[in-house]
């Protein structure tokens, strides 16, 4: 592998032309590097360098070019670069540096570089101004009630959206850069008085260990730092909504913002969060609680229904009411597949339809659902390729699975495993499957915190946001992993 040249210890000389050539040479194959020579009113020249499309050109003209051209009096005790940075430029954030590495990373992140004649130091000026998508409601996290703003791809902008929700100096954000080639900006955010310092230290330790070419999305980090790498269950929360991040920070969690993606990661992640909806906290708690219970039931149905039907049909046929048993036998008559093959086939077809519906434009997606679900389904039953009861069982499981999108992967794999177990051992197979699954769920940790900590250390307060959502009047404490400052409301 060809090594990336390290410029962290390279410094500039005093010759502005040589310095300019050095920068040009570094970016010799980059077509969007722009440079503009400025003859100042003080008798020396400067060169401003930036990447087109990443900067606010108007800001460069007004905050850098204009004051330099119009400058008249330059006799001060300060060095030339200090004088330009502190007394001349109108820019809000100016950094004086001699290290080429710092200059490059600044330029690559939308800053402008100002080279000054006869100066070994250059100025890195904040002129970020790339286009962003702006605030829009996240497609996957729509709510009927509550805030509708969502993150976009600019980390700074996302940070501002969170800060707008948390108007307190307690809010902390630490920046680091990850990815050998992408040098992606990553922010770690937390509320200093609530966060468990041990968890914060652990997260930083894991982030520091990351050694990868590029970080293009939060999931890169998620997969690299997660506790149980082989687990089907999530060990970190993700959201595109600033209100959700703010709420999680208020519970003592840590947020990780990655530049270039609207998805923000929160840690630690409890298993109960899989059943929580963003809207739960904006609507009446009784309605939210019933919806949460339905989601839990749906998870159970999504995993178990095809397997249970398989077990009933092949091993416990006597449990079916006689009329239904005859109906099942009748509908299975002529179907060329075994019940196992049929259920696996249907599960795969359902996943294909779901995935296709997601990738298609919305209008085509609706048509596809109708054609796929109704027309093909009915035709397949009529043609005796599949049986209607199995189709209903798989469809019920599929629709139930849509209620718990955060458990999508787990539901898909568990459904297949459970069907296989049921085809071997009937209902006992399902019981064995659930026993192993529950043991696994209880063993999952997120950043070292048990994802079922509220159940392993049950307290009346800790259970008030698990199986149901209690009213804000009664939820007085934060989750138990906060450890300190646990009182949320007096």
């Amino acid at each position: 592998m060809e090594k990336i040249r390290d410029y962290s210890n390279v410094t500039l000389g005093t010759n502005i032309d040589k310095n300019l050539q050095l920068i040009k040479d570094i970016f010799s194959k980059d077509t969007v590097l722009r440079n503009k020579r400025i003859g100042t009113g003080l008798g020396f020249s400067c060169v401003v360098l930036y990447f087109d499309g990443m900067v606010n050109v108007e800001l460069i003209n007004q905050a850098i070019v204009r004051p330099l051209v119009l400058a008249k009096n330059g006799n001060t005790a300060k060095s030339r670069e200090q004088f330009v940075a502190e007394d001349l430029l109108y820019a809000g954030e100016v950094k004086v540096t001699s290290k080429v590495g710092d200059m490059l990373s600044g330029m690559l992140y939308g800053d402008s570089l100002l080279l000054i004649e006869n100066c070994k130091n250059a100025l890195v000026i904040n002129t970020k101004g790339w286009r962003t998508r702006g605030i829009s409601e996240p497609q996957d996290e729509r709510v009927l009630q509550g805030p509708r703003e969502g993150f976009d791809e600019a980390a700074m902008f996302n940070l501002a959206l969170i800060r707008r929700k948390l108007l307190t100096p307690d809010f902390c954000s630490e920046m680091l850069r990850l990815g050998r080639r992408t040098d992606t900006v990553v922010f770690i955010c937390y509320l200093d008085s609530l966060v468990d310092k041990g968890l914060l230290k652990e997260l930083k330790k894991r982030l520091k260990k990351i050694d990868i070419d590029g970080i293009l999305d939060t999931n890169y980090i998620n997969e690299l730092i997660r506790d149980r790498k082989g687990s089907l269950f999530k060990t970190s929360g993700t959201t595109e909504r600033p209100d959700i991040v703010a709420a999680r920070l208020l519970e003592g969690r840590i947020a990780v913002i990655v530049d270039g993606t609207p998805v923000v990661m929160t840690l630690p992640y409890l298993f109960s969060e899989n059943f929580q909806s963003d809207e739960d906290y904006y609507i009446n708690y009784k309605i939210a609680s019933s919806a949460r219970i339905i989601r839990m039931v749906c998870f159970f149905l999504a995993v178990t229904v095809p397997a249970f039907f398989m077990a009933l049909v092949r091993f416990h046929f006597e449990l079916l009411p006689t009329a239904f048993a005859i109906s099942v036998a009748e509908s299975r008559g002529g179907v060329p597949f075994s019940a196992l093959s049929e259920s696996l086939l249907l599960i795969f077809i359902f996943e294909i339809l779901r995935e296709t519906g997601l990738r298609m434009p919305q209008s085509v997606g609706h048509a596809l659902s109708i054609v796929g679900g109704l027309v093909i389904g009915q035709a397949a039953v009529d043609a005796k390729i599949i049986s209607a009861p199995m189709l209903i069982a798989v469809a019920l499981a599929g629709i139930s699975g849509l209620m718990v999108p955060r458990l999508k992967a787990a539901v898909f794999y568990l459904r297949i495993i459970f069907v296989l177990l049921a085809s071997v051992m009937g209902v006992f197979g399902i019981l064995i499957g659930w026993t192993i699954t529950l043991i696994h769920i209880l063993s999952i940790t997120s950043l070292g915190v048990s994802s079922t900590i509220s159940l392993s250390n049950p307290t009346s307060q800790g259970l008030k946001d698990i199986f149901y959502r209690s009213s804000w009047v009664k939820m007085r404490e934060r989750p138990i992993f906060t450890r300190k400052n646990i009182i949320r409301k007096k």
């Binding site: 006689t322 008559g333 009937g426």
Partner: protein, 298 residues
């Protein structure tokens, strides 16, 4: 190592996934009849045949019979002769031929315990398996039609609902060693269940008509309320409870919550008549006279 275990487990899972029985590869037996034919056991099964192809969709009830030396052998041979496996899991009725000997009956009842047949299937007594050819208004099978018929008669007259396999097993374990099951016959090619067959020591001993069946149910404390004909009128009787109250030499006094004196007298007469025939309906027996008082039991 992990990969090897995964491959082994997956292979095992896939290999074993062929276990179990496909519902379309079985015949669902709805009723089974056991008879004694010249010392051999004749088994007749009514089963539901589901169409394998879509040429003619639907299902039909068919019968098949075979005879063998013993009950198990007969059932095995019957299953072996069929094109699909016989499944007794949805068998609703087990018919005992009137000519079964005590040993035959015991063999059948012990066979039922071991078979996959549901213990909640109803036991009935029949003259022979021709009952399975009855014309019924059920679109399923004679077996299921018979269950519906017995249920409606039970609801109307208040007896006959306690004749499931597990209930008969319990009754057989009692000291009296008697049990009664519905007696089903064919009348004008239609099913008729107008009484019960009383078994003593696993042998059909006495045929009870509807009224006697009601009194038998009252005496055995399984009466659930229904209509009783008294002379020319019909009386409605609530569920009854009979309790042994007092024993004195040859006399046994029972207490009951029956209000009608006529019903009480008829029940008293029925119980005494049974006593005379050597059929003791109560666990303590050997009394010459049994009397019923009108007190309500607790």
């Amino acid at each position: 190592m992990k990969r090897l275990i995964f491959i082994l487990l997956s292979s095992l899972l896939l290999l074993l996934s062929g276990c179990g029985r496909e519902p379309d590869k079985t015949f669902l037996v709805s009723a089974v009849c056991f008879e004694n034919k010249e010392g051999k056991i004749l088994v007749t099964a009514e089963y539901i045949s589901v169409s394998d192809t879509d040429v003619k969709e639907g299902y039909t009830a068919k019968t098949a019979s075979i005879e063998a030396e013993g009950v198990s052998a007969a059932v095995s041979r019957l299953s072996g002769d069929m094109t699909k496996v016989l499944s007794f899991s949805h068998c609703a009725v087990v018919m005992l031929g009137k000519n079964l000997t005590a040993q035959n009956t015991r063999d059948v009842l012990s066979f039922l315990k071991n078979e996959e047949i549901s213990l909640s299937a109803t036991l009935v007594c029949v003259d022979d398996a021709s009952v399975l050819n009855a014309e019924t208004d059920s679109n399923l099978s004679t077996g299921y039609a018979l269950v519906s018929l017995l249920k409606s008669r039970g609801e109307l007259f208040g007896y006959g609902t306690h004749t499931k396999i597990y209930e008969i097993s319990t009754a057989r374990k009692q000291k009296t060693n008697i049990f009664a099951i519905p007696y089903v016959t064919l009348k004008d090619k239609k099913l008729s269940a107008d009484g019960m067959m009383l078994y003593l020591d696993d042998t059909p001993r006495l045929k009870l008509d509807t009224k006697e069946s009601i009194y038998y149910a009252m005496a055995r404390n399984v009466y659930e309320g229904g209509m009783i004909e008294i002379e020319d009128r019909v009386e409605k009787q609530k569920a009854t409870k009979i309790k042994e109250k007092e024993q004195e030499k040859d006399n046994l006094t029972l207490s009951s919550n029956i209000e009608s004196e006529e019903i009480k007298n008829e029940l008293e007469a029925f119980i005494n008549e049974m006593q005379r025939k050597g059929i003791y309906l109560f666990s303590s027996h050997g009394f010459k006279n049994i009397k019923i008082e009108g007190e309500s039991p607790d």
